[in-house]
Each structure stands twice: as structure tokens, then as C-alpha cells.
């Protein structure tokens, strides 16, 4: 028994859940029913796969099993009038409800996955939802993230986030929102919240707020994949290309972000020969092409910042003044405290530690609950020789991280000061 390879159900879940849910919503015409039946299908998989092995097309297996679970449920609840339409729709999917999903050719069901995910992206990011609700719904339905994870990445309480997601789904359902890709004329307005959502998924994958690995490769890769689909759909939209460039240039650092023992390495200490040159080249080429359109936006500016880092041989030869200038431009588009915090770090390099610390401390009210604020402040205080204050700031940062790798990093920084 111990010779059996362990089934990486978590990995399969993260890879497949968004695609399965997106397809099931199209097939069922009901978001909640799709989510529930996909969860049921994964529960069946958790029981069966360790015994019989993972099927060759796990996503197809999940999709078909979920669809059959939904059909069972609709039959049980057939007295409920509102679900008759969904049941009728299901019958049109050419499949026998009693077939064995593992033996069936599943290609035609999972073929249209990219389109389904794009439909779901535009549904989740519907402009009649608040931006917070848009991003939360995207992470829940397309990223397959649990509500507590989403709550942490938004810096809000879990029950607030749960309510936000329930209300958003309910609003779309009550208003009879269609599952479609917007017409060409609507696309620019519908795109902005989609870009924001994809970038947040990428960041959640890049630095997970919980879990054992610093990087959640699947979410980052998924965000990059969605970014590519968007660039294909909207080749004339420089911000879509800017987002993809930003994600590629950031993701290129992944091999250098963690040491052999799994601990985190800061940008300034990373071995840049380990950066992924292919991703840097692809991201830089995309960025050059979209900057030529001369329609700057927040995604392109952030990509330009990442490109400045990618073009520097090391931390000390980085053009920090250029980075401060780019952050000034970004603040004009996005006047948020987190952007201001990143700008403050660049200020500390371009204009000295005191100037950087002053810029950081100006944000103490807005970012009191933000882990990075306390970590950045602690680092600057330590470099300035304010040992006691730095230790207190590391304690504040440690109280706000759930990522073991990040925690270890902070603890090491703190212990050096003792």
C-alpha cells in the first residue's frame, strides 16, 4: 500500500476547479448548483482516486461526474419550478446519465474550456458588482480559493468576505445575468475589473498568504494563462498586454525567490542568474510593443518597473530614481496606500533610509493591519540602527503572516537583532 504514489488531489483541484466550474455553469445555467456539484465530484474523487488511480483526464472526469451529480439533484428537486429550465438544458447535453465517465470520450465537453473561463471571468467581474465583489467572486469561482484565503488577501474579516461572495452571486442570479462574452463595443469597460482580478490571482499564487510553499505555482500559472487568453481576445488593448508582461516579468524571479531550504530570498539578495530569461524576454517584448501605443495605464507602468529590475545586473546598479518616477506615475492612476508603500521602498534606495522611513511612516494609519508595512518598516529601522524599534516592528509583522516561509524569514531577520 505504501508503494502507491500519493494522489495530489490539492494540486489537481487548483488546476481544474476553475475550468470545471466555468463549464458546469454553462451546462447548468446556475452558479451555485455548478459550484456545489463540482465540490461533490471532488469529494467522490478524494474517495476513489487513491484506490483506483487518477483518470487520464481528471478535469473531464470531474466535469462529467459533477454534471451527473447535478442531474441527480435536479431530479430529486424537480418539484422546484425554477430548476426545470436547468434540467431541460442538461438533457440537451448528449450524454447518458448512467454512463461511466472514465470510459466516455470527454473531449467535446471540455473542449470549450477557454471560452467558458472567459465567460465566467466577465460574469464575475460584472460592472454592476462592486470592485471588491468582482475580485472576490473571480478568486472563488475561477481560482477555486477558499473564502478565508480570499479574506486574507483582501485584509478583511472572513464573515465579511463570505457575505460579499454570497451577495454577489445572488445579485447576478436575481438579475438574470447572462453567461456571455461582451460585445466588442462593451469590452474596454468590461476589461478593467477583469485585469484587476487576474492580477490578484497572480499575486495570491506568487506569495500565498497561507500554506507551506511561498509560491503557489498553479495560481500564478493560471493567472498567466488567463492573461494570454485575454491578450488573444483583445490584441488592441495595451493594458491586457501590460498585465501579461507584468506577470511574466515578476514570475521570472520565481526560481531565485526561495533558497534550497525553502526560505524566502528578498529581491535585493536574489541570484539574478537564476531568473528565467525566457520569461523576461517575452515580458519585455510584450511591454515594448504595448508602450509604443502610448496609452499608459497601471498594468503597463508596473510592468515597466519590473522591467527596470530585470534589466539591472544587481540591486546596487538598479536605477532607483527611475523606479521612483514610475511609482509616481502609478500613484496618479492608483492612489492606494500599498502602491505608496512600494514607492517608499524605492525612495529609501534612491534618496536614503531616513527619507524612505518617513514615507513609510506616513502610511501607518492606512496600513496598520498590513504585514508588509510592518516588515518594510522593521527593515528600514534595523538598517538605521534602531534595534529595539525594529524588533517591535518585526513582532507586528509576525503577528500578521500565516505563510510559514514568510514567518521564518521574519523570525530570522528579527533574531539577528537580538
Amino acid at each position: 500500500m505504501n508503494d502507491e504514489p500519493a494522489v495530489d488531489l490539492g494540486g489537481i483541484f487548483r488546476r481544474e476547479v476553475g475550468r470545471c466550474t466555468a463549464t458546469l455553469i454553462r451546462v447548468l445555467g446556475d452558479v451555485d448548483l455548478a459550484e456545489d456539484s463540482v465540490a461533490e465530484a471532488f469529494a467522490v474523487a478524494a474517495e476513489r482516486w487513491p484506490v483506483v488511480g487518477v483518470p487520464p483526464n481528471p478535469g473531464g472526469w470531474i466535469t462529467t461526474t459533477a454534471r451527473n451529480k447535478a442531474l441527480d439533484r435536479l431530479r430529486r428537486e424537480s418539484s422546484r419550478h425554477s430548476r426545470h429550465a436547468a434540467a431541460d438544458r442538461l438533457q440537451q447535453v448528449r450524454m447518458n446519465d448512467d454512463h461511466d465517465p472514465e470510459l466516455q470520450d470527454l473531449d467535446d465537453l471540455v473542449d470549450v474550456v477557454a471560452d467558458d473561463q472567459l465567460r465566467l471571468m466577465f460574469l464575475c467581474c460584472h460592472p454592476a458588482l462592486s470592485p471588491d465583489a468582482q475580485v472576490a467572486l473571480t478568486l472563488r469561482l475561477l481560482g477555486g480559493m477558499e473564502t478565508p484565503e480570499i479574506a486574507r488577501s483582501f485584509l478583511v474579516a472572513e464573515d465579511t468576505m463570505a457575505q460579499r461572495i454570497v451577495r454577489a452571486k445572488r445579485k447576478l442570479r436575481d438579475n438574470h445575468a447572462s453567461y456571455r462574452i461582451p460585445r466588442h463595443a462593451e469590452l474596454p469597460d468590461r476589461l478593467r475589473p477583469v485585469l484587476a482580478a487576474i492580477y490578484l490571482i497572480f499575486n495570491e499564487g506568487h506569495t500565498s498568504t497561507s500554506g507551506d510553499d511561498l509560491s503557489r505555482v498553479d495560481l500564478s500559472s493560471e493567472a498567466i494563462r488567463l492573461g494570454r487568453v485575454l491578450v488573444d481576445l483583445m490584441p488592441d488593448e495595451p493594458e491586457a498586454a501590460g498585465l501579461l508582461a507584468l506577470m511574466l516579468l515578476t514570475d521570472a524571479r520565481r526560481p531565485a525567490r526561495t533558497a534550497a531550504d525553502g526560505s524566502m530570498i528578498r529581491l535585493s539578495d536574489q541570484d539574478r542568474t537564476r531568473w528565467d530569461r525566457d520569461k523576461i524576454e517575452e515580458g519585455s517584448a510584450l511591454l515594448r510593443a504595448c508602450l509604443r501605443r502610448n496609452q499608459p495605464g497601471p498594468m503597463q507602468i508596473q510592468a515597466a518597473i519590473a522591467a527596470v529590475h530585470a534589466g539591472a545586473a544587481d540591486d546596487t546598479t538598479t536605477n532607483w530614481q527611475q523606479i521612483v518616477t514610475l511609482y509616481d506615475g502609478l500613484l496618479a492612476h492608483q492612489p492606494t496606500p500599498v502602491v505608496a508603500l512600494n514607492r517608499a521602498v524605492a525612495v529609501s534606495r534612491a534618496h536614503g533610509l531616513e527619507a524612505g522611513l518617513a514615507a513609510v511612516e506616513a502610511l501607518s494609519d492606512a496600513l496598520a493591519d498590513y504585514q508588509s508595512f510592518h516588515a518594510v518598516r522593521a527593515d528600514l529601522l534595523a538598517q538605521l540602527g534602531s534595534r529595539r524599534e525594529a524588533i517591535a516592528a518585526y513582532d507586528e509583522a509576525l503577528a500578521r503572516t500565516r505563510n510559514p516561509t514568510e514567518r521564518q524569514f521574519l523570525q530570522e531577520r528579527r533574531s539577528v537583532l537580538r
Binding site: 425554477s82 460584472h126 454592476a128 447576478l172 436575481d174 438579475n175 438574470h176 445575468a177 447572462s178 456571455r180
Partner: protein
Amino acid sequence: MAQYLLSVWHDEEYVVDFSGEDMQRLGAQVGAFNEELTAAGAWVFGGGLQPASSATVLRGDNGSVSMTDGPYAETKEQMGGFWVIEANDFDAALEWTRKATLACEGPVELRPFQSE
């Protein structure tokens, strides 16, 4: 097809004066919008309301009914009129609402009716 309520919101006391220049313009715009709704088969019902001070609230409790003068919600903003429309989906309803707010030059709230 689904039904939606498009409600128009005003300050509490507005003057219904059809001879004024603004009302002339609004009346023409809303009339054109109503015609467009009707031509598209989206029109169910609609109309403007007299000011909220003309309202009366009745409250039934255990078989007895009390009556008070004035609108139910004592807020500055009151509903000044509404449409009930039929639309294919949310986006179609939003498109009608976009036209409605431009026609009546005031905020319009879109709400879906409960499904049967």
C-alpha cells in the same frame, strides 16, 4: 424574459410644472424613451407620481388598520416615478436603465422582480 422595476428618484418636494422649460425637455425625452420601449416590446407599465407629500401610509396589525399622513420613508429622496419593463437579461435591462437615466436626467434604480 424577466421583469424589472426602473424607479426614478427625486428630492422630496419637486414641482410638477409642465409649462417649465426643463419639464418640456424632460417630457419630450421621456416620451421618446417610452416609445422606444413600446416599439421594442419591452414596455409593461410606467408613469410619474405626484410629490411624496401626497402619500398616505396604512398599517395593518391584527385586523386593525391605522393611517398616517405622508410617505413611508422619511428621507429626502423619494420615488418620483417608475417603469416596469421586460428584458432578456441583466445587460439588456441595464441598457434600458442607461437610456432611462439620460432621458429623465436623474438617478434610476434597477431592480429585478422575483421569479414566479
